[in-house]
Symmetry: C2
Subunit: 325 residues, 2 copies
DNA sequence: TTGTAGGCGTTATCAC
DNA sequence: GTGATAACGCCTACAA
């Protein structure tokens, strides 16, 4: 494999001239530039980017840390990050963790090891303070609200969003409201619980543990909810479902069993995914695409040095009224 | 940022010894090893992997080229590739192309530039022969049948799979069969058309261009199919739908409009996605997860040098009978 | 406008 | 076991 030295020799110029041509520097005579380009083509020369990375200290790679690839929520976020990265000529290195803390640390280590210029954390199970320790090695942007930190974050206010959904249900006459979560110990679940307890107090309703349906992640989990509802002594009249896919499963199964929506069970989704639009699902648009794009945009500013202080960016959300409430 | 030289100085050893410790080489005395490890911890030393990549000529990165991230078909494949990569400690670099040929070439260029040790092509729009030109720079594995090539491929026989689905429909009494495709000019569409024309001839049915429904990629495209069917003078009694999500949209919309499935319209899907299981969709399991895993496995063998000749691996498929036919 | 030379941070080689 | 020293391939002062 030819290297820059070889090109220089064959073209009868110095390595610096070749390097200048390679990097589109000015101050190279047309004649030499052409001569260099010709031999590059002739010898099918290709730069060894690892050498470039070493000397420049930049890789144009950023890491994207997420638990699963095969999930609509993360796909949508990834799409957004990817869009931003693409237009800025950055590459995405996938760090699929499955919420393994070791894998998460490995991902962060890429920053220490100079393998990436920055990292976007879509979701993690290690603590924000542990993430914070990596800020010394390069910019980090999280897609979750982590409070005041040395790293940036882009997020929606889950408490507010949940509150809005709850108020909407109450306005529609509901008092018996349950909700689903992906996992009980996630930050967004915590944020939602705040709004939920607030509502219970306001309505004077008791906290019914069984109305908080854990481990609802995909469409089949949604379908399984109906079964769980049927065995309850007392059933909620409305359900806040954190994920349009989960809601889709629920709606499908409800129709199959002859439970009419919204009359017998009202449903509000989250994510505003196409599947929900098709089903007439009332949902909260949490701007996943924009969140991903924004995450990259901020990271990019940090990398470029345009922005050095950590940024906290709260995105808007929107209640989209359709026919499931 | 401390480097290996600094560690050597502070620990009172040579850089070679530090390097040996770093790489778990034998022939280092316990005493020096500990001394080195201590100073590494003390100075919070982290290797600059770019230097390692440069000298070793390997990056432990592989590129994964695909048009879209946010699509179930590619998510599933990606999950498979990622699984394999994870267990072999390889990283995935996402190359989202949107079927732009320039972007596809850029992805392949990563191989030339030594940024990756290999590349998995999930789907591309440039020709197999153009891909073949990159074989000189490193191993490539395609998830489509590209015929006899210098690169490896993992695929299912789409003609056979389609034939099987068609035979099944015929056995169930159908003669008027249409099908959907993602894009008209894809290799898999071509493969399917072979089986399709074969069937038409066998049944003595004419080729009806309108029964081949183009641009069906996601759930909403599926829902839109009903509208397209209604305006036809003559309607197919069965539809082969290339993607369970598309089929899901179709089924949902059919039910909404009171078209009973399978009585008035029989549907066979592809992919065996959870959504299809929920809907009772008869489908063909095309082993996406296994395909991804296999693609990585073969690539890995090429990288390791265990396998130098190109491999063509045809995966099995399976017709899963449920209730939509 | 061009070339020389030094350095980026490792690992590999070889001598001791 | 250990340590010099030469690569790896490129970029970039600095000098000319």
């Amino acid at each position: 494999m030819a290297n820059i030295k070889e090109i220089a020799r064959q073209a009868g110029v110095s390595v610096s001239t070749v390097s200048r041509v390679l990097n589109n520097h000015p101050y190279v005579s047309e004649e030499k530039r052409n001569r260099v380009m010709d031999t590059i083509k002739q010898l099918k020369y290709a730069r060894n980017m690892n050498a470039v990375h070493l000397i420049t200290g930049r890789t144009m790679n950023i890491a994207i840390m997420l638990p699963f690839v095969n999930h609509v929520y993360f796909s949508a976020l990834m799409e957004g990050v990817g869009k931003g990265a693409l237009s800025a000529s950055y590459r995405l290195i996938l760090c699929q963790t499955g919420y393994s803390q070791d894998k998460e640390r490995e991902a962060l280590d890429m920053l220490r090891n100079r393998e990436v210029d920055g990292i976007v954390v879509l979701s993690s199970s290690i603590s924000p303070s542990e993430i914070e320790a990596y800020c010394a090695y390069g910019p980090i942007v999280c897609c979750q609200d982590a409070g005041e930190r040395q790293f940036s974050s882009v997020y929606i206010n889950h408490t507010e969003a949940f509150r809005k959904a709850i108020r909407y249900l109450i306005r529609k006459g509901h008092r018996h409201i349950g909700f689903t979560v992906g996992r009980m110990d996630s930050p967004s679940t915590e944020a939602r619980l705040i709004a939920y307890r607030e509502m219970l107090e306001e309505l004077g309703e008791p906290y019914r543990k069984e109305w908080i349906l854990d481990r609802c992640l995909d469409i089949e989990d949604g379908a399984a909810i109906m079964e769980r509802l049927f065995v309850m002594k007392e059933r909620p009249s409305a359900l806040l479902v954190t994920g349009d896919h989960v809601a889709a499963g629920l709606i499908y199964e409800a129709e199959r069993r002859g439970v009419s929506i919204p009359e017998e069970l009202a449903v509000i989704g989250f994510d505003n995914h196409p599947i929900g639009r098709m089903l007439g699902l009332t949902t909260i648009d949490n701007q996943l695409l924009q969140m991903g794009e924004m995450a990259f945009a901020i990271l990019h500013e940090h990398i470029e040095g345009t922005q050095t202080a950590p940024v906290r960016h709260e995105l808007d959300f929107e209640l989209i009224e359709r026919a499931s409430v």
